[in-house]
Amino acid sequence: MTRFILRRLLTSIPLLIGISALLFVLMQKVPGGPMAVYGMNPHITPADRARLIQAMGLDLPLHVQYLKWLGSAFTGDLGNSLFTGRPVLEMIAERTPNTLVLMGISTVVSLAFGLALGVFSALKPYSKFDYTATTLSFLGYSLPTFWFGIMLMMVFAANLHWLPAGGMHSLGQEGSWLDGIPYLVLPVTVLSIVSVASWSRFMRSSMLEVLRMDYIRTARAKGLGERLVIARHALRNALIPVVTVVMMAMPTLFGGAVMTETIFSWPGIGRLFFDSMGKSDYPVMMGILLISAGLVVLFNLLADLLYAMVDPRIQLD
C-alpha cells in the first residue's frame, strides 16, 4: 500500500510539471495579454508601456518566464499578481474559506437530496415518482446556470424581497455568520440543482444494479425485513461506485463555480479566476490552475485508496 502511494505521488510530479507548462504556454498564446487593459488609456505613453512590460518581466523569452515561475513554485512561492502586486498564495488563501463554505454546503445538500432521490427512484423504478424525478433531473441538469441564477434572483430578491440578491453579508455585518445565511440560499440552490440531478441518476442506476444481485435475493429469502435488506445490504454496496464519483468531484470544492460566484457576487476562488482572466493576470491564473490540478491528482489517489478499503476484492499492490 505504501509503495503504491509513493509511486503514485512520484509519478504525479512530472504530470503536474507537464500540465503547468501546457497551461503557461496556452495562457500566453491567448491574444491580448496583461498590457491590453492599458491599451486605451491615452495617458500611457510608449515609454510607460515599455517600462511596465520590463517591470512585469513580460519582455523575457517565454521559456525563461516559465522556468523562473517553476523555480519559485518549487519553493512554494507562486509569485505575485501583476496588478495587485500581492503574493498569489495570499490572494488565494483569502478567498478559499468563502469558496469552501459555498461549495461545501452545496455538496452536502446535493449529496443528501441526490442520493435519497436516487435510492427511492430505484426502489420503485418506472413509477410516477421515478418518472417525475427523472424529468426533473434532466431539467435541472440542462438549466443554464447563468439564466437560472438570474431568474431565481428576479423572483426571490427583486420581486418577493425574501432573499438578498448577491454578496456574502449585509454591508457592515461581516462578523456575524447568522447574517450570512440568507445570502447562501440562492447560490446553494443553483449549484445543488445540477449536482442533485447527476448524482441521483448515478445512485439510481447503481442501486438498480445491486438490487438485481443474488445476495439481495438471498437476504430476502432468509426472511430479512425489506428495510434491513435495503439499508444494510443494497445501499452499502451501491455506494461503492458512488464514492469514486464523489471523490472526483471534491477538487471542484476548491475551484469554486465561476458562473455562480460571478452572478451572485460571491467573493470566492471562481470569481478571482474570472477577474484574473479578464486582465490576463498570469500568476494568479497559474496559481489557481496548479492547485486545482494538484487536487485532482490527490483526490484520484484518495478515490483509489478508498475504493480498495470499501471493496475488499480490489488489491492495490
Binding site: 491615452p42 420581486n159 454578496g167 454591508l171 467573493p267
Partner: protein
C-alpha cells in the same frame, strides 16, 4: 395521493409567478441604513493608490478619500481643491522661466491627513518624486517627466519647475499622497498603504473585504466641513444583470455606467432616476491610412457622406447618444462651433465623388478601379450588441454607394492590445469601429494625431500624417492660456474634418441609475467621475 409531486410543483410554480407579478410594483426605496450609500462597481480595484492603478474602479474608491491640488467639476471647469487658487499666467502664478516654466501653488492651510499629520508642500514634491522613482510602478509619467524640480520655500507653497512649457499643467497632482508614510516605504508597489490608504478626503478608509466591497466612514475633521453621509460603500458586482436586480431591490443606490440595452428596463423602476451625463468618449469609424484603399481621400469623404448619423442616433443609439461631427466634444473649449456638419447624409453626392475618382460600378454592384474592388474589412469588439448592429447598418449604407464592407469582430483585448500584437496599434486593420476618449485638456490630441506618434512611438492608430497639423499640435502644447491655444485647436478640428482619418458617429452618454432618495449626485464627464462631489450627497 399518487399525483402529489406534480400537484406540489404546479402549486409552487403558480405561487411564484403570482407573487412575482403582484409585488413588482410594491417595493420602492432602499434597503441600506439612512446615512449609508452603496455604489456598485463592476470591477474590484487592484490597489487603492491612484497613480499605481489603471482601473476605473480605483478612481471610484479612492476619490472620496483623497484630494488633488486642482479638481474638475461637472461643467469641465478646473477649481482649486488643495490649492487656494488656480495658477494661471494672468494671476502671475505661471511664469516663463528660460526655456521652461514655473507653476506656483499656494496651498490650503490647516489640512490634515486622516492620521492627523498636516498636509504640506513636501507632499506635493513627494508625488513628483514617486512618479519618477524607477522602482515605483506608476502607470503613467505623462507631464511629471517634464518637471525638473519642485521647490518648497515654505510649508504652504510649492513651486513646480518644468523644463519646457507644458500647457495641461492643471491636470498634474490630481492625487496627493502622504509623504510622511510613503517616503519611508521600502517598496511602494507592495506597501500595505495600497490596501488601506490614508488621504485628506471627506471619507476615511475603513475596510476592504476582498472580492466584496470597500467601506469608508465620514471624516469629521474634513477641511471643508464633514460630509453629510456617515458611511460609503463601493460594492463589487461583476454581472450587469445581477447589479440591475440589486438596484431594483434597493441594495445598491448608485449603478454607474448603464449600457444602452438596460435603459428601457431602468426607466420602469419608479425609485430610480437615470442621470445622463455627456461623455468625452465618442464612437467612430477609424481608417488605417496606410492601407491602399484608404490612401485616397475621395473614398473617405464618400463614406462620410454615405452614413445617416441622425438615423443611427435615433434608432440604435436610442436617442441617448447625440450625433458627433467632430473629434472634440461640444462642451470642450477646443470644439470648433463654426465647423458644423461637413459631410451631410447624401448618398447621391457620395456616388458622384466615387465616379469622379474613377471608381466604376462593377458587375456585382461593387465599384472597381484598376482591377481592384472597393472593399474593406471592419474590426470591432465582439459581443457588444449595439456595435454589431451598427456595423450591419453601415454595411448597408456603403453597399448603396457601391462599397463592400466585411465585418470581422474580435475579442476586445486583441483589438486594443499594444504594439505589435494589437490590431489597432499594430496596424493590422483596415477600418475599425470603436470608441476614442479625449481629455479635458486638448493637448492629449498630440498622441492621437501627430505624425511622430505613429506606433510604436504613440497611439496615432490611423497613421495620419499632416505637416500643418503637426505644427499646430506642437504649438498647442507649449502655448499657455486658453486664449492663445483655442485658435490652434479650432484649426486642428478643421484639418481633421477635411482629411477624414476617422468618422465620428456619436458621443457617448454616461447613464447612472441613482436611487431617488439620494440627493446631490452630479455626474461628471471627466475622469473625476461621479464621485467627485460625494461630500455633498445626502439621503432624504
Amino acid at each position: 395521493m399518487k399525483h402529489r409531486p406534480i400537484a406540489c410543483l404546479a402549486l409552487v410554480l403558480s405561487f411564484l409567478s403570482a407573487s412575482a407579478c403582484a409585488s413588482s410594483e410594491a417595493h420602492v426605496g432602499r434597503r441600506n441604513a439612512p446615512d449609508t450609500v452603496v455604489i456598485r462597481s463592476q470591477q474590484e480595484p487592484d490597489k487603492l493608490n491612484k497613480p499605481l492603478s489603471n482601473a476605473i474602479s480605483t478612481v471610484d474608491v479612492c476619490t472620496p478619500m483623497t484630494n488633488g491640488l486642482v479638481g474638475v467639476d461637472d461643467q469641465m471647469k478646473y477649481y482649486p481643491d488643495l490649492a487656494t487658487v488656480l495658477p494661471t499666467v494672468e494671476n502671475g502664478l505661471v511664469k516663463r522661466e528660460g526655456k521652461g516654466m514655473a507653476v506656483t501653488y499656494k496651498l490650503r492651510p490647516n489640512v490634515r491627513f486622516h492620521d492627523g499629520a498636516p498636509f504640506t508642500s513636501n507632499d506635493v514634491r513627494f508625488v513628483w518624486k514617486m512618479h519618477m522613482d524607477p522602482k515605483v510602478l506608476v502607470v503613467s509619467r505623462e507631464g511629471y517627466d517634464k518637471i525638473t524640480r519642485v521647490d518648497t520655500p515654505d510649508p504652504l507653497t510649492a513651486v513646480v519647475h518644468y523644463k519646457e512649457p507644458y500647457a495641461p499643467y492643471l491636470e498634474m497632482f490630481s492625487t496627493i499622497l502622504p509623504a510622511h508614510i510613503l517616503e519611508k516605504s521600502p517598496d511602494i508597489n507592495r506597501d500595505p498603504f495600497n490596501r488601506a490608504p490614508i488621504g485628506t478626503g471627506p471619507f476615511k478608509f475603513k475596510e476592504w473585504v476582498a472580492g466584496d466591497h470597500v467601506g469608508m466612514v465620514a471624516n469629521p475633521d474634513y477641511f471643508d466641513g464633514p460630509p453629510k453621509l456617515k458611511k460609503l460603500y463601493v460594492k463589487f458586482v461583476p454581472d450587469d444583470n445581477a447589479a440591475f436586480i440589486q438596484l431594483a431591490n434597493g441594495d445598491i443606490d448608485v449603478y454607474a455606467d448603464f449600457n444602452l440595452e438596460q435603459v428601457k428596463a431602468a426607466q420602469k423602476l419608479k425609485h430610480v432616476r437615470l442621470d445622463n451625463v455627456p461623455s468625452l468618449t465618442f464612437e467612430q469609424l477609424a481608417f488605417n491610412l496606410d492601407k491602399p484603399v484608404f490612401k485616397e481621400r475621395a473614398v473617405r469623404v464618400a463614406l462620410a457622406h454615405a452614413i445617416d448619423k441622425e438615423e443611427l442616433a435615433r434608432t440604435l443609439y436610442k436617442g441617448i447618444w447625440p450625433v458627433a461631427h467632430s473629434t472634440e466634444h461640444p462642451l470642450a473649449w477646443s470644439f470648433n462651433p463654426k465647423l458644423g456638419e461637413l459631410y451631410p447624409f447624401d448618398p447621391a453626392k457620395a456616388r458622384a465623388i466615387l465616379d469622379e475618382a474613377g471608381w466604376a460600378t462593377g458587375s456585382d454592384g461593387i465599384r472597381v478601379k484598376d482591377g481592384k474592388r472597393l472593399s474593406f474589412t471592419v474590426n470591432s469588439t465582439a459581443g457588444r450588441k449595439i456595435r454589431e448592429q451598427v456595423e450591419l447598418v453601415l454595411a448597408g449604407y456603403f453597399k448603396a454607394i457601391g462599397v463592400e464592407m466585411k465585418i470581422q469582430n474580435v475579442e476586445g483585448g486583441l483589438l486594443f492590445a499594444g504594439y505589435p500584437s494589437g490590431l489597432l496599434n499594430g496596424g493590422k486593420f483596415e477600418a475599425a469601429l470603436y470608441a476614442n476618449t479625449t481629455s479635458v485638456d486638448p493637448a492629449a490630441n498630440m498622441s492621437s494625431w501627430h505624425s511622430r506618434m505613429i506606433p510604436p512611438t504613440g497611439v496615432n492608430n490611423t497613421r495620419f500624417q499632416d505637416a500643418e497639423l503637426d505644427r499646430v499640435l506642437e504649438a498647442g502644447n507649449v502655448k499657455l492660456g486658453k486664449q492663445e491655444r483655442q485658435p490652434l485647436y479650432w484649426r486642428m478640428t478643421e484639418i481633421l474634418g477635411r482629411e477624414v482619418p476617422t468618422i465620428p458617429l456619436a458621443y457617448w452618454t454616461e447613464m447612472h441609475g441613482v436611487n431617488r432618495q439620494l440627493k446631490g449626485f452630479k455626474g461628471n464627464p471627466t475622469s473625476s467621475r461621479f464621485v467627485w462631489n460625494v461630500k455633498d450627497w445626502t439621503i432624504e
